[in-house]
Structures are given as C-alpha cells and as structure tokens.
C-alpha cells in the first residue's frame, strides 16, 4: 500500500488522460512499428455486421476465444410490430432476407456458444441501449461492436468504438484488436443548460461547430459542469453522436452518477467484486494537468434547442434560425454541398425553420430511445394531439424501457395523442426494416444521421431532441418546444 501511494506521488510521472489509462490497462503488446495489440473486454454483436465474420471463422476452422465476453442481440432488421400473437406464438418476419439474417444470428451464436437475446425477450433492444441497461457495459472496459454508434458506451467511461466485420472476426478469434493509438481531444461543456435544452441540443451544437470531421483521428473526452450534471441517459446521447463528429470514440469519466446507475444491474459485479471494481474505476478520471492534443470549449448557456437543416450532422441551426444560404459558407466544397443538400431537402435559403412542415416524426434510435427521452417527449405530447397528416412513431430502445414506460403510463399518453407505440428496435433510423420515410417526405427524427436516403430513398431528415420531435408531431411543423412548455 505504501509503495502504491509513493508511486502515485511520483511527480515525474506524466499526468494521464482517461483514454490513456484505459489504453495502457489493455495493452497486450506493442509492435516495433507502433501498432498495439489491445485486449477487448466486451463485444456486442447484431445480425447485420456479423454473418460474414462467423462464416470467416468457419472457413478457417477457428473457434471463438472467449465466447462469454460476447453478447448478441438482433435490432437493425426487426420489424417494430408485435412479435408474438395473442396466443404467444412467434410471428414470422415477412421480408425473406431479413428473416435469413436474423436466423443466421441465432444459428451462429448457438454454434459458437455465444449468449443470444431473442427478439421476443424483454431484454431485447437496440444493442447500445441494452449494453448499459444490463450492466454489460462497465467503466474502464474496452468495448466494441460492428456498429459505429458503439461510441455511446463511452458515456459510462468505457473505451467503446465501432468496428468493421473483419475486426468482428478478429475479436471473436483472438479477443484483441491491432490498433494505432488515437490522439485525444477534450470537449469541455461549461455553463448551464437553458430552458427546453437537452443533451441532444448540446451534441448537435458541438458537431455544428467542430464539423463532421472535427474529431477525426481523435478520441473525444467530454468534460465540464454540464456533462457532470447529466444523467447516464443524457451522457449516452452525447457519446453516441461522437462518431458524427468523426471521432474514434467519445468518453465521459465515470463518477457517482455512473456507479449509482450500474449498481445492481444483472451483469454488473456484485458484493466484494463491486467494491473492488468501484475502487479501480475511481482511479480512471483524467489526472489534473493531463494534456489533450486538442481542446474545444463551449458555453452551454448559449445553446438553444437545435436541429439539422441539411444532409450532414454538421448542418445545425437553432430552431429560431433560418435555412442558411450556400453562399454563406467560406469553403467552396461546403458551398457546393450545401446547395445539393437544399435541393435534396426541398428547402429554400432564408426560410424560417419554424415554417417547415413535417409528415413524419420518429422518436427512437440508439441516440434517444431511453426512458428519459420518452418522458421528455410524453411531457410535450400530454393532452395534445398529433397534427393532421403527420405519422408519429415512438419506438422504445428496449423491452425493459418499454415495460418501464408502460408502468409510468407514458404509452397511454402517446397513444391518446395519436402516436404509434411500437416494439423495440432500430426502426426508422436507417431504412433496414419496414419503418421507412417515403420519398420526398419530411421527418423530424431523434436519430443520429440525416444522410441522403438514410431513412429511406429520397427521405428528408431533421435531427432533433425527443421534446422537439414531440413538438413537431403536435404542431405539424418544426417547432420551438419552449413555446409548448411551461417553466
């Protein structure tokens, strides 16, 4: 113990960031060329990016090294309509390709001995919702998944990032990855969140300022008073969209909020192991004086409820703003891109965002489908009615979120207002299942990407917070949620 404290006081030791501490704790070995073999503690698998990885293992005759460190669940392809009939019989998936891919996940996990959560289980949900919810995601772990929004798990202080299918296979076979160390970037959010402003508005404002490639090559650590004051749900929204700023991962230091969230979750450590884990987790936050390669500071007090106008997540304006003119951008490439975006989005420069009518509202996705998100949307929907000509979907992120929302009566508020209350899954975020936005129609969406065709061919997406989405649903246009709220 004495030795330990002497080491900690060693003034010659360089102060380390959270990222460096997790990296060092997972370094198996460093190659002469600088590439590092990094141990992976946690691996989440879904149906879309894993079939070719399992096939690769099968062809090479390789087993899964540590099957108990991987957890599989279907989410992307699943329809969000009921999965069993009144008699409890499992309903078939109409789309043959989706059914084949979902079946492949079930067969592959059984063959390789990996835990699998079926579509009909209450534990099923979006992979980035169930990880934290089950306590599978833990501070100080390395966590990967064949999905870019894996960055979400950084909200609990896990070094979490999306990987391709070849890397999924690499992790299954070796429980490691060959990686180069990333640069670090601190995004410090100070000030106070204004009335009607949520974590989604904060991350949209950050991406709108630093750009869709602003975090490229870096792991972002979100710090500051506003981040510390957020719940785990809010932090998950922030870390989730780190990838939309191009970052390799997003991290938030574990603290009492994190420990309180995790304690007692089914896959979190218990008893003496819990105490031991918490003691280690407390050593993880970045040391005073730790240096980042880049620092970006933002005052949250100045952030208004925000949304996107274009086809990149960096195309952000406050709801009080107007559709920007392409000429207003200095960069010629951005100017050309902005014009194409406006054409695709069917918008004219100078139009007030609040004058834009929507036909669809989507409340869900790994960014905003947790209980707090549904509460925020329900608070706006309560006693109001979805506007004529608007189809509004609420898709809980998991069976457990759905169950809790129903226990709180949120489903009845939504249904009474004319929203559809659906089964958990990725739904209208990415046009891989029956929930799509038709060509030329406009959607106010709590998801994370407004790319061309993302919600369906020709679909027009505006990213915003759950409360703002509910405001759009009941007014039939992009609306300032503050006008519908009482302080």
């Amino acid at each position: 113990m004495a030795q330990f404290s002497v080491n900690r006081r060693d003034m010659s030791a360089r102060p380390l960031t959270l990222y460096e501490k997790i990296w060092n704790a997972h370094l198996v070995e460093r190659r002469d060329d600088g590439t590092c073999l990094i141990y992976i503690d946690r691996h989440l698998v879904h149906e879309v990016t894993s079939p070719q990885a399992f096939e690769g293992l099968r062809i090479a005759g390789r087993p899964v090294r540590r099957p108990e460190l991987t957890l599989a669940v279907p989410d992307h392809n699943l329809p969000t309509t009921p999965r069993v009939d009144a008699a409890g019989r499992v309903l078939p998936i109409a789309d043959a390709e989706s059914a084949q891919q979902l079946d492949a996940l079930r067969r592959n996990t059984a063959e390789f001995g990996i835990d699998y959560i079926d579509a009909t289980a209450v534990e099923q949900g979006i992979v980035h919702v169930i990880g934290p919810e089950l306590g599978f995601t833990l501070p100080g772990t390395t966590l990967v998944c064949g999905d870019s929004h894996t960055s979400a798990h950084g909200a609990l202080g896990a070094l979490a990032f999306g990987i391709g299918t070849s890397e999924v296979e690499h992790v299954l076979a070796t429980q490691t990855l060959l990686l180069g160390q990333a640069k670090t970037m601190e995004v410090r959010v100070d000030g106070t969140l204004g009335f009607g402003v949520s974590a989604k508005d904060v991350i949209l404002a950050i991406i709108g300022t630093i750009g869709a490639a602003g975090g490229s090559g870096h792991v972002i650590e979100f710090t500051g008073k506003v981040i510390r004051g957020l719940s785990i749900e809010g932090r998950l929204t922030i870390a989730n969209m780190s990838i939309e700023a191009g970052a390799r991962a997003g991290l938030i230091a574990p603290d009492e909020t994190t420990f309180a969230y995790l304690q007692g979750r089914p896959m979190a450590p218990m008893g003496a192991e819990w105490e031991r884990a918490v003691a280690w987790w407390r050593t993880l936050p970045s040391d005073a004086g730790a240096r980042y390669d880049k620092v970006f500071r933002i005052d949250a007090t100045a952030i208004a409820p925000s949304l996107t106008w274009g086809t990149s997540p960096e195309d952000v304006v406050p709801i009080t703003g107007v559709v920007p003119a392409p000429d207003s951008f200095a960069d010629p490439a951005k100017r050309a891109a902005a014009q194409k975006s406006l054409d695709y989005m069917g918008l004219t420069a100078g139009t007030a965002m609040r004058d834009v009518a929507v036909q669809h509202v989507f409340i869900g996705s790994c960014t905003n489908s947790r209980i707090e998100d549904l509460r925020a949307a329900a608070a706006v929907a309560d006693g109001r009615t979805v506007a004529k000509g608007v189809r509004a979907l609420v898709v809980p992120g998991s069976g457990q979120v759905k169950r809790q929302a129903e226990a709180e009566g949120l489903d009845r508020i939504f249904v009474a207002a004319g929203f559809e209350w659906r089964e958990p899954g990725c739904s209208m975020c990415l046009a891989m299942n029956p929930d799509k936005v038709p060509p030329g129609e406009r959607c106010a969406s709590t998801s994370n990407r407004n790319f061309v065709g993302r919600q369906g061919p020709g679909a027009r997406t505006h990213l915003l917070s759950p409360a703002m989405a509910a405001a759009a649903a009941v007014t039939g246009r992009l609306a300032d949620v503050r006008d519908l709220m009482t302080s």
């Binding site: 070995e29 073999l37 089914p266």
Partner: protein
C-alpha cells in the same frame, strides 16, 4: 488477401466532401450474409441521377476514386469496402478518411491515399484525360505529366497490404502474450470475466408478454 504494390489507371474524379457510407452502399443492401456482389448497389443514389460519373463510359472500370474530405464517414459497415472492391476500385484518394472506413479499406486491399486538397484538385484534372499511378513501395502518386505526390501510410498497414498478410493469423501467433495478459487480468480485474451477479443470459424469448 492478395498482395498489393501498385494501382494504376483512370480515376473517378468526384471530389465531393463527406461522402458517407449510406451513399457508398445504402442500408437495404446490408441484408446479405455474403461479402460478394455488392458492387451493383454501390453509389445507388448517385447512379440514379443522369450524367453521373460512375456511368460515364470515360471512367467505366476505373480502379481509383478521387474524393473530398471525410470519405466514408458514418456507419462502420464493411459492406462499403466490399462494394468498392466488387466494382473494381482498389484505391481511394482523398484529403481525409473516416477512421473506421480507412481500417475497413486496408483489410480489403483498398489503399486509402491521403493527399492535400491541391493535389486532389490537380489529379482530378489529370484523370479527365490520363491515368494516375499509386506505388506503395515509394508511397507516391504519379502522372505522365511529371506530377509526383508523396503520401504517408501506417507502417503496419502498408506491410499487410504489400505482403497480403492475414491479421488474424498474425495475432493468433501471439497467443502466449494474450494468455499471459488474461492471467494478469484475472488477478487484477476479475469482474471482467467473473460474472458474479450474472447467471447467464441465453434468452429464447418466452418471457415476453
């Protein structure tokens, strides 16, 4: 993977910024359980527009794509790299790439070449009439007009490309080091594998109401 040392040919002169993976391969193509045949879905929304560069006979079958900043941003789908391979693209030249796409590209034998915007602008002009040559040995992009642009490449990834190495095979050869790490982890962070509060979740769905 086949070793790659050089890519030479015409290049699609696109140059657009923030080309995301939904543009490279839309999500409805991701329902496949194979790596093959995705070329027909590549750039589907771009190809739906008349006069697009991919259907211009002048560039048909080009092994190189020239793009703008942040190429391959968005999803981690390796289908984007598989789609490019399937349509015959062996290298992408851009001022910057998304980290995940870049990794996926290397693993499928595609060279992601990073060059400054001035070089991109010049190569877009050249490829309208002539070929471009990428050499991994010298890490250069050259043209018949004496242009010579030097690029940087991660040493390990370059070696994997040039020797056609199987990364999983390389890592499996480090089994002793991995086992040693696991032994130390078992002592220092037992909760990672301990499952103290967890009896195993193999949920087959009968608990949902």
């Amino acid at each position: 993977m086949e070793p790659v040392t050089q890519v030479s040919g015409r290049a699609y002169p696109w140059g657009a910024k923030n080309i995301d993976t939904d543009v490279i391969i839309p999500a409805h193509w991701l329902k496949t359980i194979s790596r093959e045949g995705l070329g027909k879905g590549a750039f589907e929304t771009v190809r739906a527009q008349p006069g697009n560069i991919f259907d211009d006979p002048a560039y048909a079958g080009s092994p190189i794509l020239i793009a703008g900043d942040n190429f391959g941003c968005g999803s981690s789908r390796e289908h984007a790299a598989w789609a490019l391979v399937d349509m015959g693209i062996a290298a992408v030249i851009a001022p910057s790439f998304s980290d995940i796409f870049s990794g996926n590209a290397f693993k499928n034998g595609i060279i992601p070449v990073v060059l400054p915007q001035e070089a991109i602008d010049r190569l877009i002009e050249v490829t309208k009439t002539d070929i471009v040559t990428i050499e991994l040995e010298t890490m250069t992009v050259t043209t018949a007009f004496q242009d010579r642009f030097v690029f940087a490449l991660d040493a390990f990834r370059r070696q994997c490309l040039m020797e056609g190495l199987d990364e999983i095979g390389l890592t499996l050869a480090r089994d002793t080091a991995i086992s040693k790490f696991e032994g130390a982890m078992h002592a220092s962070r037992p909760w990672i594998e301990g499952r103290s509060g967890y009896a195993g979740i193999a949920i087959d769905g009968d608990r949902r109401t």
